[in-house]
Amino acid sequence: MSTYAAPLNDMRFLMNEIAGLKDILALPTFADTVDADTVDSILEEAAKFASEQIDPINIIGDRKQSPKWDSGVVTVSQEYKDVYKLFCENGWHSMPGDPEYGGQGLPNLVNFAVNEMWRSASIAFALCPMLTMGAVHAIEHHASDEIKKKYLPKMVDGAWGGTMNLTEPQAGSDLTAIRTKAVPDPSDDGAYRITGTKIFITWGEHDMAENLIHLVLARLPDSDPGLKGISLFVVPKYFVNDDGSLGERNDLICSAIEHKLGIKGSATAVMSYGDKIGAKGWLVGKAGNGVAYMFTMMNHARIHVGLEGIAVAERAYQHALAYARERIQGAIIGDAESKTTPKPILFHPDVRRLLMDMKSRTEALRAIGYFAAGQMDIAKSADPAVAKKAQAYVELLTPIVKGWSTESSIDITSEGVQVHGGTGFIEETGAAQYYRDCRITAIYEGTTAIQANDYIGRKTAREVNKETGDVGFTARALYKDVAAFADELARDAKLGDIGKNLQEAARALIDATEWAIKTYGPEPQVASAGSVPYLKLGGIVLGGWLLAKSAQIAQKKLDAGATDGYLKGKIATTRYYAKHWLVQAGAIAREITEGGPSVLGLDEPLF
């Protein structure tokens, strides 16, 4: 068993050198709140808490004591309860909240790094505060002051949990199929009565928090049958009296929890609303805006699910590395000494390759994630041009962070199992849990196909400047920058080989992008068939771009006399990535531009 150690070196480097922490801390929003030293202390303390408190309970939720359901009540292990309590008491739960309701008002980038630690230590546990904060943000942005005052302080500090209720058995990726009903309360008190069944409700019921505040999408009578007929309601498990104390139980119950492949430490609930008289709920914002409200949080939620992919990939890498350093098996090819003085499997070239692959890909994913997280802060800049550009980057990168980090995490955790050999297939080693846990990340909060469709469509081929008629201008401009940087790096005496591979890869992405813009309108099915490979290409090239930028900065520091092994490592991992991943870009571009029709080439009856 390994113990999680937050990769503080890489986090700090990316925050400072790639994501623009200095500029972010200088923004008026943050200038008085926090400085660089304090950010450092926060990272150190969070790292300690993640390693010592959360990491040890990950296995408990998965294999020793998963949440148990009995007659509507879900009980979690004492360890989960204890850590949750300490997590809240120590202010980590409230960290991302608005200072008005007890939060710390830190930059998103700092929250992002700290959240990576929670998710590396345990995705299942970290989902609980993540969902609560999602609900908090929805209420914060869209609900009335009365609702905010009533619910937010206790939700921000974690005393009450929050949940998001979108999915129904017949309404998964397609929310238009939602059937849950809301009718005005007969007493005419302004509230509504809600009836219906919601499924896949993460942490929909549990005993870590004293109350749960459910946000529920439902239809009002005679509403539009499409997305515009759906409204958002706040539906508490226990009613909250005017003095803040808890009142009677609402008419809602967790009717079952799911048996899942992974994230078994979290309770995934089936929620039944209104079996008796209708669950009482209050409208958030305006009727008919429910889905729009959910979508305002979509970038945030999706980037955070992408972060789960990054985090679990990191954890799987650390776990595999610890094993590869201690497991001795067989002499090392081409190393006569290893026959008499055994060396661990880390010295086998293919185990090296696996670990190098895990490490370099994880760092590439983290670089994109942190860059995007930083852009979310820069989007709050007072300079409208700067803010607009940053927001455009956030929009473009969101499907990549979500789709590509999570898809990659499935590969990376699988490589982690492979490093362990046969024991990796046995649950006791722990490698399998990361493989199982990450599998959901490519599905929930929009599947990879939905991300890819968003990336190739709304974010690229359908992005039109109304004044100039330019299409896909954000993507085109960014990839042009990538190509220009690659040209510069290709001339570098020490890193030229990396630059050359990035040049080719950037060219492939630009070609594929032009194809996508051209094809999307006339042949939408062909474009759609190539969308997931296109997402993969974008992920590979942009990850390579930020790694190469990192390597350039690292080389400059080394040339200036730095001796940090981390910097040398950054160059080595970037070189590996350039030789193993950037070289694939050309082939993937052909897959996208030439492969679409073959996807659709087999007539349906012949399947």
Partner: protein, 250 residues
């Protein structure tokens, strides 16, 4: 009542250290550093004394390079009121020099109790607390596993070979903290954020009038010898023979 707690910045206890190639010391380049774990316990005890209403102020002090400020901030984040850095630059600080520096700080601060970690996990010297008490002419109670302060006296339980020993000392006194004295808390996020705003004063050995020139010379620092591979013995007689004549242990 004021409590002074000396804290030292040391290699993190989870780090695997290596000797420098030239055997002049331990390689500290780019190694994770943290507060000495026994000092964390000392800080925790001082903060608890304050929470119990026994102490009124907790002052932490660190002698070392300017990077020791981070260690002081860690102490401020768990409840120390203010901090003093004795900035010694890259000087090679030895226990007696540290004890003298602390005495000089103590003379200015006039604490009633000094709680130190029993030893630092980097050099394991276990000397500063004792030397400091001697320089001050104060009572010392080392290896404390329980501390009770009342009526100008301190009652301290210490873990000794045969069990527990309880001693009483008059104040002011120096106490050194052992592992089981308490379990240090995690810093709370709001306190981490506030720590930066708490006062941190800097002084130097020159200002304190202390000469920190080393008096001990390190001849070399080397890795422990590599373990040799084992061998098989033919029978019990062979084993006894080898233990007697090769290992010379019986």
């Amino acid at each position: 009542m004021k409590v002074l707690v000396p804290v030292k910045r040391v290699v993190d206890s989870n780090t695997k250290v290596r000797a420098k190639a030239d055997e002049t010391g331990v390689d500290l380049a780019n190694v994770k550093m943290s507060m000495n774990p026994f000092d964390e316990i000392a800080v925790e005890e001082a903060v608890r004394l304050k929470e119990k209403g026994v102490a009124t102020e907790v002052v932490v002090v660190s002698c070392g390079a300017s990077s020791s400020q981070e260690t002081l901030r860690t102490a401020l984040a768990v409840g120390a009121d203010r901090a003093i850095l004795v900035d010694c630059g890259d000087a090679d600080l030895q226990p007696l020099a540290v004890a003298k520096l602390l005495k000089a700080v103590s003379d200015k601060e006039n604490p009633q109790i000094i709680i130190a970690g029993k030893q630092a996990i980097d050099d394991d010297a276990n000397q500063v607390g004792q030397m400091l008490a001697a320089l001050q002419g104060w009572p010392q109670v080392t290896f404390a596993s329980r501390v009770d302060v009342a009526d100008g006296k301190v009652k301290v339980t210490r873990e000794i070979d045969g069990g527990l020993e309880t001693l009483e000392a008059s104040l002011p006194a120096v106490i050194t903290a052992d592992l089981r004295l308490n379990e240090p808390r995690y810093a709370k996020l709001p306190d981490v954020m506030k720590a930066k705003k708490r006062p941190l004063d800097t002084t130097t050995p020159a200002e304190l009038g202390v000469n920190v020139t080393p008096r001990l010379k390190t001849l070399k620092v080397s890795e422990p010898p590599k373990r040799q591979g084992g061998g098989k013995v033919a029978d019990v007689a062979d084993l006894v023979n080898k233990l007697k004549n090769e290992a010379k242990v019986i």
